[in-house]
């Protein structure tokens, strides 16, 4: 449940679900997100879910903090979440051109790369949020055996499609972008497709993701 509601500036409501980051809290955030979205409240310009916060921005010409806050406080929550989440399969190639942080991770985690990949591919991940850049999913939870800090100096360019690890999370770089996550492989899939006007992001908050390891050959085939 929401622990605290505050204003962020004069045109946003900041809903705080506490300090912890776990799926239970995040499902709660996403549930609020979907309920508020479906209400189509006048003047709302964005609803931004994250691990344990939900920010609702609005147009101050149309509504105000006190009005939006009241709507959120009196919201009758329907359980939308269970109905809507789905499982998405993502092929990942971990051959030499793609595993940019092979050496770093082996050294840091003290296990072989094969073992790292075996652990990484053995489970399903949960999408906590999507954003920072268009369509980038923040997935968790990564096994405790694979937890590594982000790079001290971020890369200026992380290749599009890169799969990154940091602490309890993994992500997918939907565009070439600066970034500091440990790169273990690359997917040939378009994770964000701006031509798809209805559902441009393949992975949305609340979805489940399974990564499947593929060979270079399979990668090239999908890419074509």
């Amino acid at each position: 449940m929401i622990k605290n509601i505050l204003n962020l500036g004069d045109a946003a409501v900041y809903c705080d679900f506490g300090k912890d980051v776990n799926q239970e809290i995040n499902i709660n955030v996403i549930n609020y997100f979907q309920n508020i979205k479906d209400k189509k409240i006048e003047g709302i310009t964005n609803i931004t879910p994250s691990y344990n916060k939900l920010i609702v921005s609005f147009d101050l010409e149309i509504t105000s903090y006190s009005k939006v806050k009241k709507i959120i406080e009196n919201l009758e929550l329907e359980k939308k979440f269970e109905k809507e989440n789905k499982l998405i399969e993502i092929p990942v190639c971990c051959e030499k051109d793609f595993k940019l942080d092979n050496d770093r991770l082996e050294k840091k985690l003290g296990i072989t790369y094969d073992k790292i990949l075996e652990i990484f591919f053995s489970k399903e991940y949960f999408c906590y949020m999507t954003g920072f850049i268009a369509g980038m999913p923040f997935l968790g939870d990564v096994s405790e055996k694979l937890r590594a800090e982000r790079l001290k100096t971020p890369r200026v360019k992380v290749p599009k499609g890169s799969i990154g690890l940091t602490e309890q999370f993994c992500n997918i770089y939907t565009y070439e972008s600066p970034g500091g996550w440990n790169i273990i492989g690359n997917t040939p899939l378009e994770i964000f497709n701006k031509e798809n006007l209805i559902e441009p992001a393949l992975i949305n908050p609340g979805d489940k993701v399974r990564f499947n390891r593929i060979t270079q050959e399979e990668y090239d085939k999908i890419k074509r």
């Binding site: 500036g9 045109a11 964005n46 994250s50 999507t130 920072f132 992001a201």
Partner: protein
């Protein structure tokens, strides 16, 4: 019957960062797409009001040096808003010094040379016709960072053509006497991580000047000043961002989020610029000294109403 061909502008010089903008695209933050839209909303509103266009008609926003455009076709009207130096070069090579907030008529082979913004960053060019560009997710705005929106998500480039189509209009050669006033302070509301900062940092934030640096664009404005010491944590769990939020990364220098900002971020939020001061802030050039002043929510809401009332009064003064 001869087929009427579309009129067009040929971009002889694109300028530094010329993009199509309107009020932006809403409700896509949750998939990582920011709101985009014009940086200076008042000047956008005035540009369309002067031409009696509908309020959310897309315009060309330019920064510092604007485009040089050659018009091809029947007569049209245009207006430029902001503190902008520009010339109209007539097809007989006669040069007319342009005045912002004045509607002009141009004809075949006339050129508009938008030379620069004066002591400000952004200016706007609006025309009396429909610009033929793609509307994507209810907005014509171009987001060059995500390569989304009209013009394939790219800024204008040299030699490209912008097609325009005639529409029913009731434009006249109207004008407005307006000079944008500078403001002394940028007013802010304390944000959710204000207490992450040391007592000294809190004092410094409201007492000392911060300079706008060159690392400022449509995504955000980086400031430089006395280091703001964080005594709790220089990282928070990533969470949503909003326009105007002032984040302080570990180097202690504030960054203010603008229209094309990343949708989530993990730096502590010290304050949030009030909606009434967005336009003025966006127009501050590198080197400008900023002082922050604290207001509460109620004051911020009143100041915004007042600011909008001023805009409405300006629209009413158009003659």
């Amino acid at each position: 019957m001869t087929k009427l061909k579309d009129n067009y502008f040929e971009i002889k010089r694109a300028g530094i960062n010329s993009t199509f903008q309107d009020n932006g695209r809403k409700n896509l933050n949750h998939i990582g797409i920011p709101i985009s839209g014009v940086m200076d909303k008042r000047n956008f509103i005035l540009a369309n009001a002067l031409l009696k266009n509908e309020t959310n008609t897309p315009v060309i926003e330019f920064a510092y040096q604007g485009p040089l455009l050659e018009f091809n076709g029947d007569k049209i009207y245009f207006v430029i808003t902001g503190d902008v130096k520009f010339e109209i070069i007539k097809n007989n090579n006669e040069k007319i010094i342009g005045l912002p907030y004045n509607v002009y008529e141009i004809e075949d082979k006339d050129q508009i040379d938008i030379q620069s913004t004066n002591k400000s960053v952004y200016g706007y060019l609006s025309i009396s016709e429909n610009i033929i560009i793609d509307e994507i997710w209810d907005s014509f705005s171009t987001n060059t960072k995500a390569k989304i929106g009209s013009n394939n998500g790219e800024k204008l480039s040299d030699n490209q053509k912008i097609k325009i189509r005639h529409k029913n209009r009731n434009t006249a050669l109207t004008k407005l006497n307006y000079i944008d006033k500078k403001i002394e302070y940028i007013r802010v509301i304390k944000a959710t991580n204000f207490d992450y900062f040391s007592e000294k940092a809190k004092e410094v934030f409201f007492k000392e000047e911060f300079k706008v640096t060159k690392l400022s664009d449509r995504m955000g404005m980086r400031l430089e000043g006395q280091i703001l010491e964080n005594v709790v944590s220089t990282n928070i769990k990533s969470e949503g961002l909003v326009k105007g939020v002032v984040q302080v990364p570990s180097d202690g220098n504030p960054i203010i989020m603008f229209a094309d900002h990343g949708t989530i971020g993990g730096y502590p939020k010290i304050a949030n610029v009030i909606s009434a001061d967005f336009d003025k802030l966006a127009q501050m050039t590198p080197g400008t000294a900023i002082k922050f002043k604290e207001v509460n929510l109620e004051e911020a809401e009143k100041l915004f109403k007042f600011y909008n009332l001023e805009t409405t009064n300006l629209i009413n003064q158009i003659s």
